[in-house]
Each structure stands twice: as C-alpha cells, then as structure tokens.
Amino acid sequence: MVDLKEAVADLVDNGDTVALEGFTHLIPFAAAHEIIRQEKRDLALVRMTPDLVYDQMIGMGTASKLIFSWGGNPGVGSLHRFRDAVENGWPAPLEIDEHSHAGMANRYVAGASNLPFAVLRGYVGTDLPEVTSTIKSIECPFTGEELMAVPALRPEVAIIHAQQADRRGNVAIWGITGIQKEAALSARRVIVTVEEVVEEFEPRPFQIVLPSVAIDAVAVEPEGARPSYADGYYDRDNVFYEAWDPIGRDRERFAAWMERHVLGVENFSEHLRSIEGTMG
C-alpha cells in the first residue's frame, strides 16, 4: 500500500509504454491525473477504448504514441484533443498503432502468456493491415490456413482501478472487468488504485481477484474512477461526459480547465471538489 504520488513517481518513467485500462467501467482517472501532474513525457499510451482520460493526457502532451482500437466519447461524439493531435499535430504529433478490439485483446493475452504474438481470424480484406505495421498474415503450420498475427503487448506499466484490496494487497474487481486482468498480467509493473481496503472480500457474481504477487503498488483512491463508474460505489457521470465535449473542443478552454482542475490541485479528491457543480 503506497501513496499514488509515490507509485507514479517510482514506477512510471518518461518514454514508457503505459496501459491504463477500463472498459467504460473503472477507468483509472486518479492515476492518469497524477501522471499529468508529474509531467511525464513521451509515453506510448495503450488502451482499447481511449476516452476522456486519454483525451486529457494527449492534450497535455503526455503521449507521443497511441496504441488503440476505438477512440471516442461514448454516447457523445469525438475526442477533440485526440483528433487535434492526429489531424493537426497539436500539441505534438501523435503516432498511432491502430487495431480492432479483437486484435488488441489478443495482443494483451499474448503478452500475459509470454508469447511473441497472437493469432486470430479477422482483418483480412480490410485496409487496417495496410496502415498498421503490427498486423501480418501467417500460415498455420498444421493446416496451411492463412490467419492474422499481431505482436504481444508488453507494457512497462499497467494501471487499473478496482473496487477493493485486502490487507495483503490482493485486489477484487467485479461487474464488467473488460481487459484489466490481461493488461495487468502483460505488464512489467502494475499499479492498482482501489475504492477501499477491506478485511475480507465478499463472494460476488463474476468477481475476479488479482493476487498481490501480480501487483507492484496498491493505492487507495476513493472515487478514483470518476467520472466513469465503480459498480457498487457510484454511477457513471453522464453529464460530465457531455460537458466535456465543448471543453475538449477548444484548445484554450481545455488548457484553462486542465490548469485549474488538474495541474492546480494536489490530488484527485481535491480535483473532485474543484469541479463540483461546474460540469453541467
């Protein structure tokens, strides 16, 4: 159990490949803000579904590369900082390595399994292999069938948010668990933020437990996934996602918002207090 500030300072280096995962649910906003505040640079960010949190990191110049499969503001529209980086190179050019969800999911599985690549059916006939160098066709050595290969993802750091940790540092996640387990097990260093620490986990349907031996740092960050949601704790703040659209759309408004609500605060709980009543 450590402080999130320390965990990010110790475990995230400039130039690292960093995966902050979460499939609508349990998105690690608190950790992302800490990375922005510590002005980490030149990160290769990995995520299947980059949403507002990567919009913020990209707009603040944290990333030089994005490895992803779907980048949007779900139910609202575009990620304007992401688009500005790709379309206009602002604030810096952003290299992209673009896949489908199936491709990304299998890349994590290969990474977690210590294999050099994964094999799947898909991509054939699409334009993706033409623009993405990490998609190559491969012949099955047994049947001769043509399949597609994608290289393993081995991020230096994976960061996820979970509901609970116990005192020994095991972590419990329930509800939609997406790709978090695979992301954590594919990475060399793992940071988990949690809603709370409990004496013992209760059994819950579809719960997964990530043992402490797979984790390098656990930090308690209540409400650390806001404005996304944490099943059992709080709902998704849909108003925030809508209110983000005009903020993200405008470079100056974005910079001012980040200055006031992310750079200008000490930690995530201060951030949450600072935006109270301001997002719609």
Partner: protein
C-alpha cells in the same frame, strides 16, 4: 438528426422498428451501441423475448431495462446471464461461430455493404478522424449474418469509402467468399427511408422496400451511388401502436434514468 413525421411516428422510429424485425426470436445477437442496440432491445421487448444479446464489453445474455449509452454500462451487466472478459467474448463467442447475427452501425457504407469507421480523407492526414474499428471488423467477419442500421444520407452512403474498416461483400460477387470468412455477410441495411438487401449475384445493395411516405427519389438523392431499385418494390409495414408504445417507453425510461443520474 432530421426526423420527418410520417403520420404518428418519426422516420427514426420507423427505422428502429424495421431493424427490430430483422432479429428473429431465439437467436444469438452481437450488438453494437446506439441505433443497433435500440433496435435489438425493442425486438427483445416485442417479438423476440428469447434472443440472447451479447455486448463486446463481455456481457452475455444482457437484459438492459434502459438503453446503454456506452458499451460497458452497468445496466448491461446487471441482469446478464454471464459476464466474461473481452478476449473471451471475441475468441470463444464471436470467432468460435456462436453468434447468429451482428447488429452494427456505421459512419459510411458503400454499395457492397463495406463499412468505414476510421477516417474521412487520407489516413495520414485525415479530414476527419473517426473513432476507429472497435469490435466491428470481427463482427462483420464472423457473425453468421450482419444487419446494418444507419440513416440514409449522401455523406454516409458513398460511392467510394476512404477506408475499409469492416468488410461487407468486398468488391461484390464472390469476393467476400474468397476471403474465407465464416459469416455470410450483411443481410440488410435498414435506414430511415427503407430497406436495402444484397443482389444474390452481384451482392450490390438494392432498395427492396420503402418505408411508408418515403419515395424512390428521396432514396436516390440520399445515396452517393446510383441506387438500384427492386422491380417489385415493397412498402414496409408501419410500426404498430404496440411497437411505438414499447419503443417510446424504453426511450422515456432511458431518459428518466439519465436525469436521475444527473440529479443525484
């Protein structure tokens, strides 16, 4: 979002109801967010109570009582038969051939049902950077058949896609079959004006049914290629009172739940 009132319903309502009719009871359906999800859940609430809905966030047998805004909303997990990881939903369910029908949306579509959700303009310096592939390429490849739901407009129904994100019938004819996909390809494109189905030989999408009040002229004007029209053009059955009531109730509940979340 133009909605022209036809009678006592909107063109969007007509589109959703027509799309819901494509979902037969008891099938396994892989559902995209937005219009496809609305149609699939209307089907589940009307003629297809036993359809099995799968969302790419890993929710199997999802039974949302309000429409999800995002693919990983909690309401999808709440009453689901099972919740699995993302690799599992794509590998063990979709790729394994357990999905009967994929319900997809699109930013752009061409005459052979190929879909673009990646870029408008050139890839290296795009005019508009779209969200990207998501789950669509593999749904289009591996679901036994696919139904696409989108509003018919010239900038969506284009002569040539800037980027092929997900394959329909490729260049038409036998070209999809040669790619070796297990799925048969798109069976229908449901729009706010009518229903398009592929020609059995050329695989070019042809207008086979017009929604009540829509005209062939409108359909042609909203299409960026020279839209073929079936010789025996049908008129889509209008939504029933019951369908409209259930759809509006679903939308009202979705709105109310959003408002509740806002005020809490």
């Amino acid at each position: 979002m133009t909605q022209i009132a036809r009678d006592n319903y909107t063109t969007d309502e007509m589109m959703t109801v027509a799309a819901s009719h494509e979902l037969r009871d008891g099938v396994v359906c892989f559902v995209g967010i937005g219009l496809p999800s609305e149609a699939a859940n209307l089907a589940r609430a009307t003629h297809a109570p036993n359809c099995f809905l799968i969302y790419e966030s890993g929710t199997l047998g999802a039974k949302p009582d309000v429409l999800p805004l995002s693919i990983g909303d909690g309401v999808l997990a709440e009453h689901a038969d099972s919740v699995v990881s993302v690799p599992e939903v794509f590998n063990y369910w979709l790729q394994a051939g357990r999905v009967d029908v994929g319900f997809l949306g699109a930013a752009q579509i061409d005459r052979f049902g190929n879909i673009n959700t990646t870029v408008v303009g050139s890839y290296d310096s795009p005019k508009v950077r779209l969200p990207g592939a998501g789950g669509a390429p593999e749904i289009a490849a591996s679901a036994r058949e696919v139904v696409v739901v989108l509003r018919q407009k010239p900038r969506a129904f284009v002569e040539k896609l800037a980027f092929v994100t997900s394959v329909g019938y490729g260049r038409g004819g036998e070209s999809r079959r040669r790619l070796g996909y297990q799925g048969a390809g798109p069976a229908a494109i449901i729009t706010d004006l009518g229903i398009l189905r592929p020609d059995p030989e050329t695989k070019e999408f042809t207008l086979v049914s017009l929604h009540p009040g829509a005209t062939v002229e409108e359909g042609k004007e909203a299409t960026g290629w020279d839209l073929k029209v079936a010789r025996e053009l049908e008129t889509t059955a209008p939504p029933t009172e019951k369908e409209l009531e259930i759809l509006r109730d679903l939308q009202a509940r979705t709105e109310a739940s959003r408002r509740r979340a806002e005020s809490s």
